[in-house]
């Protein structure tokens, strides 16, 4: 009897162990894949193959980093609903990474704007922020992302206390709305992609307004 119990425990422990390893392996894989958009840029630089980016490589980089910032914001917001729908609780372990990648690409995006577009004329950056709504909204989204990135560690969760931490991190909803508004305002004429992101965002935010019980399963 006792033997059986201990054997059962061993099995469940070893399966817990392999599950941990699986999640860890997946995290490493996702991390590497998430770095690909910037790795490709770096490789193009190092090999002098800027032709990879066509006639306007700086614009490509600006757009690509902006796109990935928004992809990762939406991915971050999709994790909780997906977890609830699929019951795959381990998904939560990828949320911090997704959020930090959103910050990472937003940072590169901001830097490419300052360097390539404004050529480090900070007075012009300032003027842009107050003159152009889409820049204002973009910078607001970025500034709001900074405290979330800083407090993303376990230490900060403890320091703030779970409840306050959650409240603070709810600002990601606002950040995502600002991000989509930013894209909406900057396109000249073709609203297709901003509208697609807005649609996805409405679904993701709307999901959170639904009564939770029904979806706990």
């Amino acid at each position: 009897m006792g033997d059986q119990v201990s054997r059962l425990r061993t099995v469940s422990e070893s399966s817990g162990f392999s599950r941990k390893r699986l999640v860890f392996g997946l995290k490493v894989a996702v991390f590497i894949v998430s770095l690909w958009p910037v790795t490709e840029i770096v490789i193009a630089f190092l090999t002098g193959n800027t032709r990879l980016f066509g006639a306007n490589p700086a614009e490509k980089i600006l757009h690509r980093t902006g796109d990935w910032a928004i992809y990762f914001l939406l991915i971050t917001l999709a994790i909780s609903p997906l977890r609830r729908i699929t019951g795959l609780n381990d998904l939560i372990k990828f949320r911090r990474m997704a959020g930090l990648f959103a910050f990472f690409y937003a940072f590169l995006h901001l830097m490419s704007y300052i360097a390539f577009d404004r050529f480090f004329y900070f007075d012009e950056v300032l003027r842009d922020i107050f003159k152009r709504p889409f820049i204002f909204v973009g910078i607001a989204a970025f500034i709001l992302l900074v405290p979330l990135a800083v407090t993303s560690t376990r230490g900060w969760v403890q320091r703030l206390g779970g409840h306050r931490w959650i409240l603070l991190h709810r600002s990601v909803y606002i950040i995502a709305i600002l991000g989509v508004a930013h894209y909406w305002w900057l396109v000249k004429r073709d609203l297709l992609w901003p509208a697609i992101y807005a649609g996805i965002l409405i679904v993701l935010l709307g999901y959170r307004l639904l009564p939770k019980k029904r979806f706990r399963g």
Binding site: P37, T50, R51, L52, F53, G54, A55, N56, P57, A58, E59, K60, H63, R64, D67, A115, F116, D117, R118, F119, E124, R127, D128, K131, R132, F134, L186, K188, R189, D190, L192, W193
Partner: protein, 313 residues
Amino acid sequence: MPRLISKPIPSSEITPREVYLNRRALLAAAAGGSALAMMGKAAFASGLRRPLEALPNTAPKISDTPTDHDLATSYNNFYEFGTSKSDPARNAGTLTTKPWTIEIVGEVTKPRTIDVDQLIDMGLEERIYRFRCVEAWSMVIPWIGLEFNKIAALVEPTSRAKYVKFVTVNRPSEMPGLRSDMLDWPYTEGLRIDEAMHPLTLLTVGMYGQTLANQNGAPVRMIVPWKYGFKSGKSIVRIEFVEKQPVTAWVAANSREYGFYSNVNPEVDHPRWTQKRERLLPDFFASRDTEKFNGYGEQVASLYSGMDLKVNY
């Protein structure tokens, strides 16, 4: 528009390989100073790009070297073929550019329809102009064409002709972008008559020693080098001399952001893009100071004497 994988289409994939290689040989020959005509126009099938004979006119001097041909033909704004910069090179192949006529009508004594081949037979010049987009990038392009005033002379505008309106072809079956209502199609542009008659204003049929690529506005487009690129309508089928200032496509779409004049001017900011500096493609940094009238002020500033260019933007 987001594209995860961006592969500029090498021109060797757009054009049959022999033609591409021939073209390269021709460009090399042209660079060496030999006559472009050596292959003969007939060597190229109609519809494909073919070499054009043109006398170089270097009067409007420009110090930068021309942009790489493959970049100038792979990075275009031509919304009739899609809104991303790479769409036109991918989609514009469907446009039938031969036969092609332009209807010239309105306040003229001799309205007429003229075939592009007739234009070409009138004798062409090559001019290397800086091409400045409102999006704050520029290229340097060897255009081939003839002064628009030579065409105007054929139809004899009356004294009532105060403006000229340029209308782009409207063929939904060949131009997928026309399905969207992004702009009022057909694309319409306009110039004041003295702007149109200015010797720098070029009715353009070629670039880089050959006929225009479809994505660049084949078979015939305008080039008005001191204005933002969108003023230079592409694939033109109709030219109207009119009395009243025409409502152009971008003004109709957003008159706060796009003015009728749209002269290149570092002092007048666009709501989206500061115009102070520009990026000379394929540079990374927008480090080049924008020149008023795109550097052609000496020739054209007098057209606007007494006008407040901040009001008439």
